[in-house]
């Protein structure tokens, strides 16, 4: 946990990437969304974290990459099956376990809409795990575990910023 004295705060899983220039690949796209739109939303979700650190994220079309992103349904090979619409929306692995992010393709993923589940917000949350953040017990934090609906004015909470900067330092430029 963070070292301040507040009772509620971010949590660090315990691993982080040694490099700050990270690469990613969307190796399986969702069924219902346009690929270009998905590329843009995923890039935006990574930018949430690069805004406050020196981390950079570069999309690649081929392996090897640091973070592999897949939209999958039900059992998808990692022993942690998705449960269909609602319930769990996605999961991601901490750096020590590879950093990959999986999204339940049975969800109704949407972009800039109050309907369905907002892809950008969920992706930004999952990438927090990919970078080493665990769940926060601060309700307003992105790293809180519960989906809170589409927020058209989304900003990282100060708790998230403190968490990511505890791992990777402050942005220098």
């Amino acid at each position: 946990f963070g070292s301040d004295t507040r009772s509620k705060r971010y949590a660090l899983q315990g691993s982080r990437w040694k490099v700050k220039a990270l690469t990613y690949r969307i190796s399986k796209y969702p069924k219902r969304l346009n690929r270009k739109e998905v590329d843009d939303e995923i890039a935006k979700a990574f930018n949430v974290w690069s805004e406050y650190t020196d981390l950079t994220f570069t999309a690649k079309k081929q392996n090897p990459v640091h973070i592999d992103i897949r939209f999958e349904e039900s059992e998808h090979g990692d022993g942690d099956p998705f449960d269909g619409p609602g319930g769990t929306l996605a999961h991601a692995y901490f750096p020590v376990y590879g950093g990959d992010a999986h999204f339940d393709d049975a969800e109704y993923w949407t972009i800039k809409s109050t309907r369905g589940t907002n892809l950008f917000q969920v992706a930004a949350h999952e990438f927090g795990h990919s970078l080493g953040l665990s769940h926060s017990d601060v309700r307003s934090a992105l790293m809180a575990p519960f989906y809170r609906g589409y927020d058209s004015n989304f900003r990282l909470d100060s708790d998230d910023i403190q968490g990511i900067q505890a791992l990777y330092g402050r942005k220098t430029s």
Partner: protein, 87 residues
């Protein structure tokens, strides 16, 4: 020494608690080591209540240990599949 049945929660007899048990286990509030193998893997009532309280506290609810409506409702909220309590 035989363990009194009443000391343990029998989830089969309480409607909906199978799902709650699964939820608490899935997100790190109940670990397999807390189950008592000599009594059909049932969970000590205090352990169950403590797990509910930890979930409530983490989620910003009143940590009563009771499986109230607000707690059940939050457990049905869509969420991330990663554990809240990472060991």
């Amino acid at each position: 020494t035989p363990i009194e049945d009443s000391f343990y929660l029998n989830f089969d007899s309480i409607e909906g608690t199978d799902d709650v048990d699964l939820y608490l286990s899935q997100f790190g509030y109940l670990s397999p080591s807390l189950r008592n193998p000599t009594s059909g893997n049932l969970i000590d009532a205090n352990t169950w209540e403590r797990a509910i309280m930890e979930f409530q506290s983490f989620a910003g609810l009143n940590a009563t240990g009771d499986l109230d409506e607000e707690t059940m409702e939050l457990m049905q909220t869509p969420r991330c599949g990663v554990k809240d309590k990472v060991g």
